[in-house]
Amino acid sequence: MEDLSPAVLGDLWQRMLLIRRVEEQVIHFATDRADLLTGNYHVYVGQEATGVGVCRVLHTGDLVFTTHRNHGHLVARGAEPGRVLAEIIGRVDGYNRGRGGTFHVAAPDLGVLHTSAIVGGCVPLAAGAALALKRRGGSAISLAFFGDGSLEEGATYEGLALASLWKLPVLFVCEHNGAAPAARSGGEAATSSHPSRRLADFPASLGIPSRVVDGVDLRSVHAAASEAIASIRSGGGPVFLEVRTTGWPGNRGGAAVLPGGDFDLAWAWNPHTAPPELQAWTAESDPVARLANQLVGSGAFSRAELETIDGQVREQTAAAARFALASALPAPERALQHVFA
């Protein structure tokens, strides 16, 4: 397992913060203007450690599948924020050239072949990509990020069962993003619509090694992903991680908002300065705040150094938003192209 040095942890924190600020730009697109982003959109605020921690373990040839909540996964995998934002508002410089929008951001060159917004849709696809990798030989793996709701769908059951039966090299990362803080590391954490009280029990019953991970803690995520992926690469078959985070108060179903505006790093140092509805969450459940405090507490970085990094990230995401807004909409007649290869 890679030993996460202070420098690496700083990079990972920066990547998590980048995701946070990209998602803020998405919310601004939706709330500050009436014409840019009019439908539902799903942001990754509060889950940044999962995408970043898992993707840190991946190699170049690995394939990643995700869902409608994909922006954080794309950035974690190395996607350019400007091209992600351009795709989210349907512009030609987006990764899908505007065809996909927020629900379907994919980047084949980064191993994100196709992003499904059908709950559970990515599970068989990821297993199938793993089949291709297995038959080709080598140690590349496939990985699916999906939410707890995916375990309600039949496609998920069948994809898991077949992955187990055929010992496919696929990591299933189930992001249960509504767990109470005390339930994040293990034990029961029911959802409102699944009869199982511990989602990880369900793939375990299919013979897939499964565990619960605290998704707010980057190191925990990284350690669990490292162990799982090492096992998969050496032919151990699929692994299931139920990664639990606690719901960010800004999420409102299909249309998130920013209570109190953009995230202020000062909230991490003193959660009492955060907006009231964010104080408890920032103190207990914000992966960006937690890692920032760990970096400062361990002496790896000063607050000022992290604030400087934040300044760079803010510039980067502001530039990415400008890039997206400057990108053109497609010609209308392009609608008839690319039906068939």
Binding site: A106, L113, L131
Partner: protein, 324 residues
């Protein structure tokens, strides 16, 4: 030229594709074949490492095959009875059919779904489906409807070896044992190229799949008893469709019957008729007639099943009505 059954011709195409490209794999149990035609697929046994036999989980294994295709494999997925493809529709329609368009051409899904479709004799309500009209109305899928052994082989070769698009391969149950000439040299039949199966002067019968031999039988009757010389046009693929061959025939004869074994409403014959009405109107001397299954599910009981099966006699009756 040697003669093979449709099943044997299909078996040859599969073997040739497996030999030509290591990325071709079979995911599904449907080529085990019915008792009657099992021997046609015996040559596949030497490719046992290229055949995966999944459990009964069409949504799962079709999805897996689609994911494998996105990652560069070239799967053919024999689901068995065509009705079973309905289990996999979310992956087929929301993923396979949409991925190339949704990526503005960056991702391809080179996958073939093979299914045994149509009224079979005692198939009943859940084993008689002919889903090609449903798929024609779903954007992003190509559809092959072979009617003869040579077409079966040539189209499957194209599907597996030349096409990078998701393809629905409609293999009619009652064609499996039909014999016909198959070229000794392997050849691909490109998609979008139909064939005039019987030239004629007086009326055009556009027919697909199992309706082609029924149309040919109808044409023989019409020639013998009515002195009507019917031209039988077989598009061979629905998507892409060889409109030119259909319209050329209509321009020649001015009268057309479209015969298909799908349910009548929004069926295959309905779309072909609409195209002819739109683009061949000036040549028409009579309304377009469709021969299709009534809008009913298929009964297990033989008299009911036979009653709704479109046969040569229905085509003959339709032609006679047009030529009065």
């Amino acid at each position: 030229m040697r003669e093979l059954t449709c099943a044997e011709a299909l078996g040859e195409a599969l073997v040739e594709a497996l030999e030509a490209n290591p990325e071709v794999v079979i995911i599904g149990a449907g080529f085990a074949g019915t008792e009657e035609h099992r021997a046609a697929f015996a040559p596949l046994r030497r490719f046992s490492d290229r055949v995966l036999t999944p459990p009964i989980a069409e949504l799962g294994y079709c999805g897996i095959a689609i994911g494998a295709a996105m990652a560069g494999m070239r799967p053919v997925v024999p689901v068995g009875t065509a009705s079973f493809i309905y289990e996999a529709l979310p992956q087929l329609l929301n993923e396979a059919a949409a991925a190339h368009y949704g990526s503005a051409g960056q991702v391809t899904v080179p996958i073939v779904f093979h299914m045994r479709a149509g009224i079979r004799g005692a198939g009943g309500i859940q084993h008689s489906a002919a889903p090609q009209a449903l798929f024609w109305n779903s954007p992003g899928l190509q559809i092959a409807v072979p009617s003869s052994p040579a077409d079966m082989k040539g189209l499957m070769r194209t599907a597996l070896m030349a096409s990078n698009n998701p393809t629905i391969f409609i293999d009619h149950v009652r064609l499996q044992g039909v014999r016909g000439p198959v070229p000794d040299q392997p050849q691909n039949i490109p998609f979008g190229v139909g064939e005039v199966k019987r030239p004629g002067r007086d009326v055009t019968i556009v027919a697909t799949s199992v309706m082609v031999p029924r149309a040919l039988a109808a044409a023989a009757t019409l020639a013998r008893t009515d002195g009507i010389d019917a031209e039988v046009v077989d598009p061979r693929t629905l998507v892409p469709l060889d409109k030119a061959i259909i319209l050329t025939s209509v321009a020649k004869t001015g009268r057309v019957v479209v015969a298909d074994e799908t349910q009548r409403s929004c069926g295959v014959a309905a779309e072909i008729a609409a195209i002819i009405a739109d683009e061949g109107f000036s040549h028409l001397r009579a309304p377009i007639k469709r021969v299709a299954i009534p809008d009913v599910p298929i009964s297990f009981s033989r008299p009911e099943e036979d009653y709704v099966t479109p046969g040569p006699e229905h085509i003959v009756a339709a032609v006679r009505a047009l030529c009065r």
